[in-house]
């Protein structure tokens, strides 16, 4: 054996880089391997990194003039849409204005590369700057598992590399987690969705004027209903410094059934009058598509650790999409940090067996990640109920159309309108069930 690292990390996405940063800060030696030409080359997100963990990894990151992030979120909007209408719940507050922000928009090809640069700086400042590496453009082919069933390293480019423990942070397409037998061989289609996204450049001034932004403040807008033409899923529009991230997340099973293509649906979404007004005049500078977990906890691997190995981020399907926000990057960040902390502790103890690494599972369970994933399972299912993309948005828009119309006719009271539109779109029993379910799960 050449040289043994404290840790080998597979994948230089958010989970991998967060783990690496944690290790570098603690002076551990590690090898991070990313198959993309650079960190971020292949990564896709809608674009909001929620929570304040970034501040933990890169303290006062907002002070850097040319940091990797785009805008902080102080204005949120949820829109229910039918073919021609858009009924929104809209909230803006100055309580979001002060750092550490609780949400920032990011463009992954820029953000990941920036974060990798920060990790490199941390390596350079560590006691063993020549013994930790961020290696890109290299595919990890397999995990080395010894006779006892413990992971001891990786194979890449025909060579073997060894470490006391391995962190798999390979993202949703988790071939290595499958190889070591932690991931179930078959992921049913309703645990995954397809995300498509365009980055549409408008120019900084236009973005700020059009969305009433100030400085680096930003808006997030989620959409349900006609956004996906009634197919299970939703749409999003986030403001970046000078562009918009606009996309859809569509249930894989429903998409297949519909026979539509994601690209088609995205074009239709962009053509919806409410969205068309926001993207008008923009130039599409990037198009990407990727699979994303839905947040269904049944998708999480059998276990997230074994002898010598832990799984972090979306490789462990740690994502939650319960209607409020897509949370994948923050989960990746937190789980990467927790895996690295467990690794440090294990290396220190000289024991990287599963008995020791189960601390990772504990840490996850104690964190908001698993707590929220468990607590909001009902909401995840509710979000995928057909009424959420069908009847409900249509009801809201019908209501809105009448409620907000002022013509020279006698005006009906809101309750009367509500009763009528409800009758048109959904049976009373279903409606009450939906309401009860929402009250219970949200």
């Amino acid at each position: 054996m050449d040289e043994q690292f404290d840790c080998i990390i597979v994948g230089g996405g958010i989970a991998g880089l967060s783990a690496a940063m944690t290790l570098a800060r603690a002076g551990a030696t590690f090898l991070l391997v990313e198959r993309g030409e650079w960190s971020g080359a292949k990564n896709v997100s809608g674009g909001v990194l929620w929570g304040t963990d970034l501040h933990r990894l890169v303290p006062n990151y907002w002070e850097e003039e040319d940091g990797g992030w785009e805008r902080f979120v102080n204005h949120r909007r949820l829109t229910l849409m039918d073919a021609g209408g858009a009924f929104s719940l809209d909230f803006k507050s100055d309580h979001f204005d002060a750092p550490p922000y609780t949400g920032v928009t990011v463009l992954r090809s820029r953000f990941d590369a920036w974060l990798a640069g920060k990790v490199d700086e941390a390596i350079a400042a560590s006691p063993k700057p020549d013994e930790s590496f961020l290696a890109t453009d290299i595919l990890v082919e397999s995990v080395i598992v010894d006779e006892s069933g413990a992971a001891t390293g990786i194979r890449a480019g025909g060579d073997e590399f060894h470490a006391r423990c391995v962190i798999l942070a390979e993202g949703v397409n988790n071939l290595l987690a499958r190889q070591v037998g932690l991931e179930k061989e078959y992921v049913p289609a309703d645990h995954v969705a397809v995300g498509v996204k365009e980055v549409i450049r408008l120019g900084r001034e236009t973005v700020e004027d059009r969305f009433q932004l100030r400085g680096r403040s930003g808006l997030t807008n989620e959409f349900v209903g006609a956004a996906t033409d009634g197919i299970d899923g939703g749409g999003f529009l986030y403001t970046n410094t000078e562009s918009l991230s606009v996309g859809l997340v569509i249930g894989m099973a429903a998409l297949r059934e519909s026979g539509r293509t994601p690209y088609d649906l995205l074009n239709a979404f962009k053509a919806h009058p409410a969205v068309a007004d926001m993207v008008r005049g923009g130039e599409t500078v990037e198009y990407s598509a990727k699979v994303v977990s839905t947040g269904d906890i049944r998708g999480v691997p059998r276990e997230v650790y074994m002898d010598g190995l832990m799984i972090a981020g979306e490789a462990a399907h740690l994502v939650l999409n319960a209607g409020r926000a897509i949370q994948g990057m923050d989960y990746a960040m937190r789980s990467g940090i927790l895996a690295a902390e467990t690794a440090l502790e294990a290396v220190e103890a000289g024991d990287t067996s599963s008995a020791q690494l189960q601390r990772y599972r504990q840490r996850l369970d104690e964190s908001y990640v698993m707590q929220d994933m468990k607590a909001f399972q009902g909401a995840v299912h509710l979000l995928h109920s057909p009424h959420m993309t069908g009847a409900l948005p249509r009801m809201a828009c019908d209501f809105g159309r009448e409620f907000f119309t002022v013509d020279n006719e006698p005006t009906r009271k809101a309750t009367a309108i509500l009763r009528d539109v409800r009758k048109q779109h959904i049976g009373l029993v279903d409606f009450l069930k939906l309401g009860a379910s929402a009250a219970r799960h949200l």
Binding site: L31, L107, S109, R110, A113, D130, I138, D159, V285
Partner: protein, 250 residues
């Protein structure tokens, strides 16, 4: 042979970029090892592997460019020299050449290799200028490179064919990317690169004689049209009609 390869960092031409107020703005700020210089590194490594010798890489650039030097070391170069200039220094070919010549003037390199042009500017000046500054004979646009004793045998791509030229060392060759496919550093190379010697020399470039005053988008082409139809023969007829009546191209 001892090789000195001049390399540099360029913006990724494939990444989104725009012109704002006459300035070029690289959206992602992505920078890479110049593809032509990468071919020069590859050529030197191949000759070293078959004939022995040493490969030094030399780079003029700001702090950020150190990663590009590292990349060449990860490919297999033995050592690096970073002629470090301030972040915002404006450079033209002459300023680059002056710094390179100062460093390579005393160099024992038998052969200096450069890219035939830069991916971002396509200037194609540095190689010839540097050779002249150092009084070395040179050949540009090499698509093949062999070693024959103390000489290099260079196949250069000309306008109408190729020329095979014998070039005795000390000499300089500028390399086309059509010469080879530069290797992608493997993990062992990346790990070894951190332990290879890099000499960093602070340098201040002279004021540029050639200045870039503004950037603009190229003139837009008229939007085109699709020629469609169920029958290839009908499509062909339509296309020929358009070519003769509308475009007046045939």
């Amino acid at each position: 042979m001892r090789f000195a390869v001049c390399i540099h960092q360029v913006p990724d031409v494939a990444a989104p970029a725009q012109v704002r107020d006459g300035q070029l703005v690289l959206d992602a700020g992505r920078v890479v090892l110049d593809a032509y210089a990468a071919s020069a590194v590859e050529a030197a490594l191949q000759l070293k592997e078959s004939h022995g010798g040493e490969v030094e890489v030399v780079l003029v650039g700001p702090q950020k460019a150190a990663e590009t030097l590292r990349k060449a070391l990860a490919m297999g170069a033995d050592r690096g020299t970073h002629l470090l200039i301030p972040e915002d220094a404006a450079l033209d070919s002459r300023a680059v050449v002056a710094l390179l010549a100062e460093h390579l003037g005393g160099s024992e390199a038998d052969a200096i290799l450069t890219g035939k042009q830069s991916q971002d500017t396509d200037a194609g000046l540095v190689g010839g200028m540097l050779a002249e500054a150092l009084g070395r004979p040179y050949v540009t646009n090499a698509v093949g490179l062999e070693q024959d004793g103390d000489s290099l045998v260079v196949t250069r791509q000309g306008d109408r064919g190729q020329e095979v030229i014998a070039l005795p060392a000390p000499c300089l060759v500028t390399c086309s990317n059509d010469m080879n496919d530069p290797r992608i550093p493997n993990l062992k190379g990346i790990m070894a690169s951190k332990k290879k010697p890099v000499e960093t020399v602070e340098a201040s470039p002279e004021a540029p004689a050639v200045r870039t005053v503004a950037y603009a988008m190229p003139p837009e082409r008229e939007p085109g049209q699709r020629v469609e139809g169920d029958e290839p023969a009908a499509v062909a007829q339509t296309l020929v009609r358009l070519l003769s009546d509308e475009a007046r191209a045939i």
